[in-house]
C-alpha cells in the first residue's frame, strides 16, 4: 500500500464554509483536501486512499446523500461525517441508516467536528486493518487442499473427529492428521481462533 497519510476530504459547495474548514483542520494538523461539489470528489476518488469524508448534505447537483449512495454502490469504505443544516434531521437519519459515521449541525464547535473526524479516521483505519486481515486469511485458506478444506468446514461446524471420519469415510486418524495441517496452515492457535477466522473470511467485503 502507498503510504499516504489519512486525509480529510471536505465536500461543500459554499466557498466560505469549505475554506474555513480547511483552515480549521489544517490548524489541528490534519491533511485536508477540499471539493466544491460531489462530482468533483467522485472524479478524483481513489478507494485506496485512507481518510474520511466531511460532506455537506445539501448541495446543488449531486447532493451529499446521492454521493453516499454512489460510494456504497462501489463498495467504497470511506467513513462519512455529514454536515447538516437545522432542518435536515430527516436527511441525517437517512444518512445514518446508510452507514454514515455521524452528522454534525452547522454551525458547530470545532472540537465536536474534530472528534467526529478522528472517530471516522479510526474507523477507516479499522476498516482497512480488517480488510488486510481478511485478505491474509483468504490467502491461507486458498493454500488448503480440497480434503483439508472439507475437514475445515466440518470442524468449524463443531463436528467431532469421529463423526467427520464417518462423513468422509476415512479413518479417525486420517481426520486428525488433516486437522493438524489445517490448524498449521491457517496459523490457528485454537479451535475458537479458527472459527473466528472462517467467519471473518466469509464476511462480505
Amino acid at each position: 500500500m502507498k503510504e499516504k497519510p489519512a486525509t480529510v476530504f471536505v465536500v461543500d459547495d459554499d466557498d466560505a464554509v469549505r475554506t474555513s474548514l480547511r483552515l480549521l483542520l489544517k490548524s489541528v494538523g490534519l491533511p485536508v483536501e477540499t471539493f466544491a461539489s460531489a462530482q468533483e470528489f467522485v472524479d478524483s476518488f481513489d478507494a485506496e486512499r485512507a481518510g474520511c469524508l466531511v460532506l455537506d448534505i445539501r448541495m446543488p447537483g449531486m447532493s451529499g446523500l446521492e454521493l453516499q449512495q454512489r460510494l456504497n454502490e462501489i463498495h467504497a469504505i470511506v467513513p462519512i461525517v455529514f454536515i447538516t443544516g437545522h432542518g435536515d434531521v430527516p436527511m441525517a437519519v437517512e444518512a445514518m441508516q446508510h452507514g454514515a459515521v455521524d452528522f454534525i449541525q452547522k454551525p458547530f464547535r470545532d472540537q465536536d467536528l474534530i472528534d467526529r473526524i478522528n472517530q471516522a479516521l479510526e474507523k477507516d483505519r479499522d476498516n482497512r486493518a480488517g480488510l488486510k486481515e481478511r485478505d491474509a486469511i483468504r490467502r491461507r485458506m486458498q493454500q488448503l487442499t480440497p480434503r483439508e478444506r472439507e475437514v475445515l468446514d466440518l470442524v468449524t461446524q463443531g463436528k467431532a473427529n469421529k463423526v467427520i471420519a464417518g462423513d468422509l469415510n476415512v479413518s479417525q486418524r486420517t481426520v486428525e492428521i488433516h486437522r493438524a495441517r489445517v490448524m498449521e496452515k491457517m496459523g490457528a492457535s485454537s479451535l475458537a481462533h479458527l472459527v473466528r477466522m472462517v467467519i471473518e473470511a466469509e464476511r462480505a467485503t
Binding site: 459554499d14 466560505a16 464554509v17 475554506t19 474555513s20 474548514l21 483552515l23 480549521l24 489544517k26 490548524s27 489541528v28 445539501r58 446543488p60 447537483g61 447532493s63 443544516g85 437545522h86 432542518g87 452547522k106 454551525p107 458547530f108 464547535r109 470545532d110
Partner: protein
C-alpha cells in the same frame, strides 16, 4: 123677421150703429181691417190708414195681400182657401207677429190678431194690427246688447258662472261649458252642486255659497275647488267669487270667475316634487351645487353645500373668497385658490379635492368639479359646479387600501414562510464559516508557532465578509417582510432581480433547483414599488420551484428573464415542470385557491392585483417543450 118694424127707423138706427162703429174703429189705436171670404178689404179704419199710408177708399175691395210683403202676399189667397176648405187656421184666435208692407213699400213688424165674424153667408174676418216696430227695435237692441255681453262672456278665457241662492246655475259662459264638458242648456237651471261638485265636497261648497250670500266673505273671495266634468274628470278651478244683490241689497246669487289651474297645479306640483327630489338626491349623494359669478365672486349655493360645510344658509350667501376663507381647510386654502384661478383661466375646468372645516371643528373631504359657462356680459364669467362630500368614500378607499396592504403583507409573510428553510440555511452558512474561521484562528494562535500572520489575517477578512453576508440577508429579509405603505420608486428591474437573488436563491438551493437569470443587457426604468415587485417575483419563483418538486424528471432550474416588449418591460419566470392543468388555470388568480397543502391561496391573487395596480399585466403561457412561463409587464417610465 119683425113686420112691424119701421124701415126708416130701422134704417136710421142701422146708420147710427154704423156711425158709432166707425167712430169706435177710428178711435182704436190698432189698425182694424175687415175682409171677406176672398180676402177683399171691406173695412179699413183710421189707424190702418195711418199704419199703411193708404186711405180706406184706396184699399176698399182690394185684396188684403197688397198689405203684405212677399212671400206672404202671394201665399195668402192659398192660405185662405185652405182655411175655408179644411177649417184649419194658423192665425185665427192665436195672433202672431207678422211683417206688413206700407204703401211706400217699407216693411214693418206688427202683431196681428184675427177673428172670424159670425153671420150667414160667406165668411168674413176681422184683423187687429198693432205696429210693434218700436217695441221690436227695443227688444232687438236689448238682444243685441245681451248677445254682445254673451259674446264678451264667451270670449273671456275664464269660466263665468252665476248661481242663484238656490244653488241653481243661472248663467255659464262658453269657457265654462268647455271646461265642464256640457252644453249651456245642459247646465243652466241645474243645481250646480249636484251637477259639478263631487259628492264628498258638496256640503262644504254649499256652505261656502251660503257664506258668500251672507256676505261673510270678502269681495272677489279667492278659493280653489275641484269640479267634476261630464266625463268624470276632476279639474281644479281657482275661483274669484262675488255676491250679486238686487236693488235693495238682498243677495240673489253669486257670480264667479273660475280658472282651470289643473295643469298649472300639476306642473307646480311636478316642479315642487322635482325640486324636492333634487334636494333629497343632493342630500343623499352629499352633493351640492353652486353658481359663481366672476370677477366679484358672488355665489349661489344649494342647500346641500350649506349642509356639507355646516354653514347657516340664512346668514347670507358666501362669496367665493369667503368660502375659501371660512370653509376650506387652512392647509388647503392656498392650493384651492391657486388651482381654482388656474382652472378658470386656463382650461375653464376645475377639479379640486380639498378639505373643509365645519364650525364644530370636524373635517370633511370634498371634491369640487366646475366649469365656466358663457355669460351674456363679456366682462363677467359664470362658473357652475358641484361640491361633493367624498369623506366616506375616501375613508372606504383608505380602509380598502389598508386591507389590501395587510393582505399583501400576509401573503409576503406566507411566501417568506415557505422560503424559511432556504433562508435559514442562507444565514446559517456565513455563521458556520465565521464560527469555523474563529475557532481555527484560536487554534492557530494557541499553536507553538502562533500561526502564520497572512493566514490569520485572511481568516479575519473572511470573518468580516461572512458577517456582512449574513447581515445582508437579514436586512433584505426585514425589508421584505416589514409591514409598510406602498411607495413608488424608479426601478431598474434587472438590478431588482439581481438583488432578489439573495432571497430567492437559498430557497432554490435547498430544493436542489438552479436559479438562472437571463437578463437583457439593459432595460428602461419603470415606476414601481420595489418590495411589491420582489414579492411578485419571489411568489412566481416559489411556485416554479414547487412545480419542479412535483415533476421529478424535469430539469431542475428556474429561469428569470427580462426584455423590452413594445413600451413595456416584460419579466418571465420559466419552469419546465408539469404545466398547469386547465381546471387549475381557471382559478389561478382567485384568492384562496391553492393546490398546495400549506398554501394560503393568496400569492397569485395578490401578485395579480399588485401588477394591475402598477398598470401592468400578469399572465402565463406554456413553456415550449413543457412547463409554465409566468410573465408580467410593467410600463416603462415615459422618457425613460
Amino acid at each position: 123677421m119683425p113686420t112691424n118694424a119701421d124701415p126708416a127707423t130701422a134704417a136710421s138706427h142701422s146708420q147710427q150703429v154704423t156711425n158709432e162703429l166707425k167712430a169706435l174703429l177710428d178711435a182704436a189705436v190698432d189698425g182694424v181691417i175687415v175682409i171677406d171670404h176672398k180676402g177683399s178689404i171691406e173695412t179699413f179704419n183710421a189707424a190702418a190708414e195711418r199704419l199703411f199710408g193708404y186711405t180706406a177708399a184706396e184699399v176698399a175691395g182690394k185684396n188684403i195681400n197688397m198689405l203684405m210683403p212677399d212671400p206672404y202676399s202671394s201665399g195668402h189667397d192659398q192660405y185662405m182657401q185652405n182655411y175655408q176648405r179644411t177649417g184649419k187656421a194658423r192665425i185665427i184666435g192665436i195672433g202672431r207677429e207678422i211683417s206688413a208692407q206700407r204703401r211706400d213699400g217699407t216693411i214693418f213688424p206688427a202683431s196681428l190678431a184675427v177673428g172670424e165674424i159670425p153671420g150667414s153667408g160667406a165668411k168674413r174676418f176681422v184683423g187687429f194690427l198693432h205696429d210693434i216696430s218700436a217695441r221690436k227695435a227695443a227688444t232687438d237692441a236689448l238682444r243685441r246688447e245681451r248677445d254682445r255681453a254673451q259674446s264678451y262672456l264667451d270670449l273671456a278665457q275664464v269660466m263665468l258662472l252665476a248661481i242663484a241662492n238656490s244653488g241653481h246655475i243661472t248663467l255659464i259662459n262658453r269657457k265654462g261649458c268647455e271646461i265642464l264638458g256640457y252644453t249651456e242648456t245642459e247646465l243652466v237651471g241645474r243645481d250646480w252642486f249636484e251637477q259639478c261638485i263631487a259628492e264628498p265636497h258638496r256640503e262644504a261648497a254649499r256652505a261656502t255659497l251660503a257664506a258668500t250670500l251672507r256676505g261673510d266673505t270678502s269681495l272677489l273671495e279667492y278659493s280653489e275647488d275641484e269640479v267634476v266634468t261630464s266625463d268624470g274628470e276632476i279639474k281644479l278651478i281657482a275661483w274669484r267669487t262675488t255676491r250679486v244683490t238686487d236693488e235693495e241689497g238682498r243677495a240673489i246669487g253669486t257670480l264667479s270667475s273660475g280658472e282651470d289651474v289643473t295643469d298649472q297645479r300639476h306642473a307646480e306640483q311636478a316642479l315642487k316634487r322635482s325640486e324636492q327630489l333634487l334636494r333629497s338626491a343632493q342630500a343623499i349623494a352629499k352633493l351640492g351645487n353652486f353658481e359663481i359669478h366672476e370677477p366679484d365672486g358672488a355665489a349661489l349655493w344649494s342647500q346641500q353645500v350649506y349642509d356639507i360645510t355646516g354653514r347657516d344658509p340664512d346668514s347670507g350667501a358666501l362669496l367665493l373668497k369667503e368660502y375659501a376663507a371660512d370653509c376650506v381647510h387652512p392647509d388647503d386654502r392656498a392650493r384651492f385658490l391657486h388651482d381654482w384661478r388656474r382652472g378658470v383661466a386656463e382650461t375653464g375646468r376645475i377639479d379640486l379635492e380639498y378639505r373643509i372645516v365645519r364650525p364644530d371643528g370636524s373635517t370633511r373631504v370634498v371634491q369640487t368639479l366646475a366649469q365656466t359657462v358663457p355669460s351674456n356680459d363679456a366682462q363677467s364669467l359664470i362658473i357652475t359646479g358641484t361640491v361633493h362630500d367624498i369623506t366616506e368614500r375616501k375613508l372606504a378607499e383608505e380602509e380598502l387600501r389598508l386591507g389590501q396592504e395587510r393582505l399583501t403583507h400576509v401573503a409576503r409573510l406566507s411566501t417568506m414562510g415557505e422560503m424559511a428553510t432556504g433562508l435559514a440555511h442562507e444565514i446559517n452558512q456565513p455563521l458556520t464559516a465565521i464560527a469555523t474561521y474563529a475557532q481555527a484562528l484560536v487554534r492557530m494562535m494557541d499553536s507553538p508557532s502562533g500561526g502564520e500572520r497572512a493566514e490569520l489575517r485572511e481568516a479575519l477578512v473572511q470573518i468580516t465578509s461572512q458577517a456582512l453576508r449574513a447581515g445582508e440577508v437579514i436586512r433584505r429579509l426585514r425589508a421584505f417582510v416589514k409591514n409598510r405603505a406602498a411607495k413608488t420608486e424608479t426601478l431598474d428591474l434587472n438590478r431588482l432581480i439581481e438583488d432578489l437573488r439573495v432571497l430567492a436563491e437559498p430557497d432554490a438551493r435547498v430544493n436542489d433547483v438552479r436559479l438562472i437569470l437571463t437578463l437583457a443587457p439593459s432595460v428602461p426604468p419603470v415606476a414601481a414599488d420595489p418590495v411589491q415587485i420582489q414579492q411578485v417575483l419571489l411568489n412566481l419563483v416559489r411556485n416554479a420551484i414547487d412545480a419542479l418538486l412535483e415533476a421529478p424528471g424535469a430539469p431542475r432550474q428556474v429561469v428569470v428573464t427580462t426584455q423590452l416588449v413594445g413600451q413595456d418591460v416584460e419579466v418571465c419566470v420559466i419552469d419546465q415542470a408539469g404545466g398547469i392543468p386547465p381546471e387549475v388555470a381557471v382559478n389561478l388568480f382567485n384568492p384562496f385557491f391553492t393546490t398546495k397543502a400549506t398554501g394560503t391561496g393568496l400569492g397569485l391573487a395578490i401578485s395579480h392585483s399588485i401588477i394591475r395596480a402598477h398598470r401592468g399585466k400578469l399572465g402565463h403561457r406554456p413553456t415550449p417543450g413543457g412547463g409554465t412561463t409566468f410573465h408580467f409587464t410593467l410600463p416603462q417610465l415615459p422618457g425613460g
